[in-house]
Symmetry: D2
Subunit: 357 residues, 4 copies
Amino acid sequence: MSNIRVAIVGCGYWGQNLLRNFAELDQAEVTVVCDFEPRALTRAKKRYPSIEICQNYADVLTNERVDAVVLATPVSSHYPYARQALQAGKHVLVEKPLAQSSRQVMDLIRTAEAAGKVLMVDHTFLYTGAVRQMKSLVESGEIGQLLYFDSVRISLGLVQSDINVLWDLGPHDLSIMDYLCEREAVAISATGVKHLNTPYENIAYVTVQFEDNFIAHFHLNWMAPVKVRRTLVGGSKKMIVYDDMENSEKVKVYDKGIVQNHDPEKRERLLTGYRNGDMLAPRLDTTEALRLMAQDFVTSILQKRAPLSDGYSGYRVVRLLEAAQRSIEQNGRLIELRESPISLEELLPVSRLAVGD
Amino acid sequence: MSNIRVAIVGCGYWGQNLLRNFAELDQAEVTVVCDFEPRALTRAKKRYPSIEICQNYADVLTNERVDAVVLATPVSSHYPYARQALQAGKHVLVEKPLAQSSRQVMDLIRTAEAAGKVLMVDHTFLYTGAVRQMKSLVESGEIGQLLYFDSVRISLGLVQSDINVLWDLGPHDLSIMDYLCEREAVAISATGVKHLNTPYENIAYVTVQFEDNFIAHFHLNWMAPVKVRRTLVGGSKKMIVYDDMENSEKVKVYDKGIVQNHDPEKRERLLTGYRNGDMLAPRLDTTEALRLMAQDFVTSILQKRAPLSDGYSGYRVVRLLEAAQRSIEQNGRLIELRESPISLEELLPVSRLAVGD
Amino acid sequence: MSNIRVAIVGCGYWGQNLLRNFAELDQAEVTVVCDFEPRALTRAKKRYPSIEICQNYADVLTNERVDAVVLATPVSSHYPYARQALQAGKHVLVEKPLAQSSRQVMDLIRTAEAAGKVLMVDHTFLYTGAVRQMKSLVESGEIGQLLYFDSVRISLGLVQSDINVLWDLGPHDLSIMDYLCEREAVAISATGVKHLNTPYENIAYVTVQFEDNFIAHFHLNWMAPVKVRRTLVGGSKKMIVYDDMENSEKVKVYDKGIVQNHDPEKRERLLTGYRNGDMLAPRLDTTEALRLMAQDFVTSILQKRAPLSDGYSGYRVVRLLEAAQRSIEQNGRLIELRESPISLEELLPVSRLAVGD
Amino acid sequence: MSNIRVAIVGCGYWGQNLLRNFAELDQAEVTVVCDFEPRALTRAKKRYPSIEICQNYADVLTNERVDAVVLATPVSSHYPYARQALQAGKHVLVEKPLAQSSRQVMDLIRTAEAAGKVLMVDHTFLYTGAVRQMKSLVESGEIGQLLYFDSVRISLGLVQSDINVLWDLGPHDLSIMDYLCEREAVAISATGVKHLNTPYENIAYVTVQFEDNFIAHFHLNWMAPVKVRRTLVGGSKKMIVYDDMENSEKVKVYDKGIVQNHDPEKRERLLTGYRNGDMLAPRLDTTEALRLMAQDFVTSILQKRAPLSDGYSGYRVVRLLEAAQRSIEQNGRLIELRESPISLEELLPVSRLAVGD
């Protein structure tokens, strides 16, 4: 089968990374780069002289040498651009977040299914060796019952001009949590603040509640002096610390836990103690996650199957984001997720593998 | 003037630390140790043979060789024991939290004032070199306008048998925040979960809102596989990271911040950028904090002045704790602090220096 | 059997630690504390009022209430004091290094054997959970063939007034290496420098060569701005990093190594590659090492057996120290260890278990 | 002036980095890439289609579209290739080490001077923000008198097939030391071992002695389970820790030191104490060092001046390497540097700025 011909739309910081990765895939070929900025096009052309460049997105849509469109454009353009591309018969990969509302995402899912095209969101972290290792630890039962998920993603800048910290950083951790924990949230509350006259929240704290006493919490901050990217996953048998700032040993599995003291006689202060065992840092695959993500997009097209971070993954994340946003705007009020316009149950009949032409 | 004669009541883990520190003070003398457990008394007697031991708190109250009582007993006993001691004419130092409700604390404050005795709560962290250094950085204006306070205090165990993680670990960070930030909270929300059939919350997230867009957040967890004690203080000019697990350089001051881009022409993605300067880790006084706290109690008695962590400090902390607890019980509902039984304004006429003979 | 009655001689920084540990042992009792400094005696008496104090070492030697002498005095006194104590019929534990020359140590060993008394040196680190764990990893064969031992022990101060950094810090790492690696050194070279008009070397680098291509290297420094205590043990199968400054996970075992590429066709740059597997941080016993060392001394006396860090352990360490010192004085010349006054072979007939009365 | 036309010779791992950096310079243009491996040429051509490729180095030498040759070839080819290029009238930049002996380097220097061409060695680290910051700290006198330089560069692999760890990793740290400390070594001793049947040393320890009690030490290791790249620079006023594995704050300046106690009365154990002040981590320029190095080469050609890491820098480093190698082969014998074939004094008359045509 011939190579998938890809157009990169938006060639800023992340677009250049996507360009490089797609350019180096065996089964793909970047035929077009599109950007408003002439400078971005010149830069791309210098690196990849055989690539066609254009400033007008409409030209991408009508270009017959384009099978798939990769959108690394501002978030507000994700929905209209993706919709147009699907309707023009292109497969679509969209930078996170997939769109600005769960309604938009659902519409994209329906449009992709009607068109028989692949719709994918770039939840890059799902493709890291670290997250894949954690997934296998959770799935194998080694961690035991999941108790909590706690994530901190903070650093200085980059303050975005079109979205707040929740919509910018949140998709990373929400998608990881969604992937690892595979359970439906029942309610969400969030607090956000805007400092220094920025129009958007630069700090957000998000708490997600689930039915089974499992809890997830997210600290997102663009104004922290240090870069922290750390996730704790607490289980009844073992606990994981995932520290993405470590050069190696990013995932540490602690054989630690709480043990109950059932001796009724004991008049001691501690009714419960803790178990303190070994720590294991498993070897991780170090393949670039973006490469694997790009490959999954191409393979999904070729094999007519859904990618790992498909439209539904995008939907579940955007649904949490919009509920968290609503909570922020209502000063931290608990938002029941059944208040969302479309419930997840409603989605279930839609087969995740229904991609075809 | 003769030495202050101290009774240590409750000689478990923390009581032993208090015993050692008071025993080594120049202007104090530990005359009595009281504990229900004969073993605790034997251990204390072996170390300090000249000390009088007793199992009955009533004996401490009537003992004429006791000027001041130091309570390191279960939280539920703080209020009755402290009240009895004050009424018996003893000065009182109480382990944190000062009591179980703000009403109780207020009653202790009134009782102490009526008796002309010192009432103090052991907010040990206020006496660390790290917190004192941070206080001076905030007070000098070097940090600029305070933007946020974010604190994480997590580790494995020790699960307490009489209080939850909020009341056990929360007083440390709430007292530091109260001391550094000196502003009145307007609302608080908190989420807590109980895992593994423990009767008390073992994880709590607390968000405190203030009038001026300043925000404080606390992550408290008894079930984390790693020990983290890190506080971020964000200012408009500089930012502080206080990492209590560092062997040295516990306080780092970052000359970092967000800068606005006022160029209206600029069509760039970033309307705001960040400033990235030096980092300074100031030398810290390494005197044991508990020693300084004990000394402050003794000096306050001798000089008839209020200690740093006086009853009002205890009141402000307990007021936040009880509002956070209420929020946890109402599933994260935002609690306005004016809902509290006694407002802080009401307290103001009471002179903080009204300690007398 | 009745308790072993111990005299602590020298009650400065380390002597106080020894005092506390012996005082809390079940089978021992500290009956006497001896120090030139009245202040040290007052301090000890305040803590342990029942203890007899004296300023004159001769009084310890003749005291019938003393079964064993613990020497925490300046290094130059170790030999004469230990010799006198053994001759007076006391068991002897000596602070490291055991003496100032291997001849002195050998004489102490002979004296102890003649007197049927225990002679022990305080190589505290051998009793840490970390070193004991490493020992078991090496002994079990899990590490494979030992390739190298590399140790760094640096910090700021404390500059000693009677010995250089080699004799002060060196015994720690040399005793650990001796214990773990159990092989005879054939040659040693060392470089040392004296800065800022100090009479003694404040930096030393020591390289020890062995017959089987195993190499050991030691970096000792009193003038480093940061505290580093890190040892690498390289094996053909696994490698260990022992970082004593870590709060937990002090010992990390890396399933890493070099693999040979035997493909003769391969014209690649790399003839050898590396194997990169998991890392395991085993749970360590956290019992205070000094307690276990003190206990070993007492048990050795009671059971008439040799302690772990017996005179021969002290001998092997002092023999390396004196050869390294000679090398420093000869500007790094390689010193063959058979140049030493007494060879290790000469010692072999002497049974290590010949302690008895 | 027209762009400098560059040929990249050897396009393996490092050659590709050089290619990318020269391709992106404003005043340079990569016209030719030469490599034995067709695969390397295909890869380069795919990225930069306008580049001429060739397998034969002779074709580079005769190519009139080449002003300057950049050699990233095996070390044994450095000398003949560089010599030929200079004689063919090309400027030359050589990967470190500049050649295999100081005689070879001296011949290259003379050849370059005769030809009026730039000869440069790629001591990349001199161009890092970290080393430039350290240089300014040393030069300004802020550090005081230099006392020691201690460097550790260890990790797992990559074992090289043509040189040992000394010649592979040593140039980095020796060039940094040479640049920062600017003093002439008088003697050197080194120990190295070969493990696992590798033909070359995989561990080396190097000690360099200087006239003024300043000492430098280097630990180089290809078989360490962890990656450490840490340099300590001790001064009489301040001390620097340069940790290249840190994500930020790579350079930390400690206001710490030893202070003499001049009180003759004092009978205390400590005659010297230490001073413990603030730590400052200055902001560092994060421009890619390789970019600055490439730019320095091009600017040197255009401005007819010597680059920072010129032939003499290469000479001083190779001179230390060959003396260290000799010491390794003589089992750690101290090698006096005046034993070297050409003394540094002999070089002094040669102007470092005599580049020109």
